[in-house]
């Protein structure tokens, strides 16, 4: 059952499957209600985002399991944003901005940091196979997990020097 879920994984480089061409801000039209959370780029604030995302997701009637998956995905995205944020400026941590957009059939989440993606693109792990010596790979799991849990995942790099990860999770038809 859960294996079938991971098949929904989309590569981060795939454009979002929509009629219109993907643009940096494709879906936040003015009439929608959004929740915006800004946290300092520090691990101690990730839990605040997890709780807030759980609140928005459960308001959309996602199942308990889906709410947990959404918490994990947004936490992974925040982790990456925190790890790749620029250093503090005059003692002040940069901020990470999380936008939660509850829609009729889905939840969209954006996690935006003030850092840059590597110009070579995101180095990715495609496998969790053991090395010849039998050691298991220890890193590069974050995006893998996000893509397993979310229905659509896309990195948006705007003109500003910042990185946004867009994640979409659909409500299942009941």
């Amino acid at each position: 059952m859960v294996n079938s879920r991971t098949q929904k994984t989309h590569a981060a480089s795939l454009p979002i499957s929509r009629a219109t061409a993907p643009k940096p801000k494709p879906r936040f039209d003015g009439s929608d209600e959004k929740v915006v959370i800004q946290i300092p780029a520090h691990p101690r604030y990730v839990r605040v985002v997890r709780l807030a995302a759980a609140g928005v997701a459960s308001g959309l009637n996602f199942s308990i399991e889906d709410v947990e998956d959404i918490k994990l995905a947004v936490a992974e995205a925040c982790n990456n944003a925190i790890l790749h944020a620029p250093p503090p400026k005059s003692g002040r941590l940069p901020m990470v901005t999380i936008t939660l957009l509850p829609l009729a059939d889905r939840l969209e989440m954006r996690v935006e940091d003030e850092g840059r993606l590597p110009s070579s693109g995101v180095p990715r792990r495609k496998t969790t196979e053991a090395s010849d010596e039998g050691a298991l790979p220890e890193g590069g799991l974050g995006l893998l997990i996000i893509e397993s849990l979310m229905d659509e995942v896309q990195h948006l790099t705007g003109m500003k020097s910042n990185t946004t990860l867009l994640m979409v999770k659909y409500l299942r038809a009941v």
């Binding site: 859960v2 991971t6 691990p43 101690r44 990730v46 839990r47 997890r50 947990e68 998956d69 918490k71 994990l72 936490a75 992974e76 982790n79 925190i82 790890l83 496998t127 969790t128 053991a130 039998g134 050691a135 298991l136 790979p137 220890e138 890193g139 799991l141 974050g142 893998l144 997990i145 397993s148 849990l149």
Partner: protein, 127 residues
């Protein structure tokens, strides 16, 4: 809940119980507590996951790192009683069948006794 780590030594084994969030925030503390155990000569380690209500890829990475280092040292390691959330994140990470993970603490302890390093279930054929 912030990560809480409880550690006890029984004979030559360390039994470590994790509670709360095994995440980026808790990682430095967990790494620091694991480090001397993983550097010891013949590490024999059981990690009880029954109190973990959240685990992210950082937590998974620490678990895998512990597994790799114990393996290098010809020690023994086992994990037990994963909560549904831990089960899920290990499954997504493709690690469910690759780590020595046991349903009960007893089964994990038995496995720890009977091996000087705990082989992952799927690698038994290749061991």
């Amino acid at each position: 809940m912030n990560l809480q780590i409880q550690s006890e030594t029984v004979d030559d084994k360390t039994i470590m119980s994790l509670r709360g969030d095994v995440d980026l925030g808790g990682a430095p503390e967990l790494r620091a507590i694991l480090s001397p155990i993983l550097e010891s000569d013949n590490p024999r380690l059981l990690i009880d996951l029954s109190g973990v209500n959240f685990m992210d890829s950082t937590g998974v990475g620490i678990i895998v790192n512990a597994f790799n280092r114990v393996r290098e040292k010809q020690g023994a390691i086992a994990f037990c009683t994963p909560t549904p959330r831990v089960h899920r994140v290990l499954q997504i990470s493709g690690l469910l069948t690759k780590l020595p993970l046991y349903e009960t603490r007893e089964a994990a302890l038995t496995a720890l006794e009977s091996s000087f390093h705990a082989p992952p279930q799927t690698s038994e054929a290749t061991a």
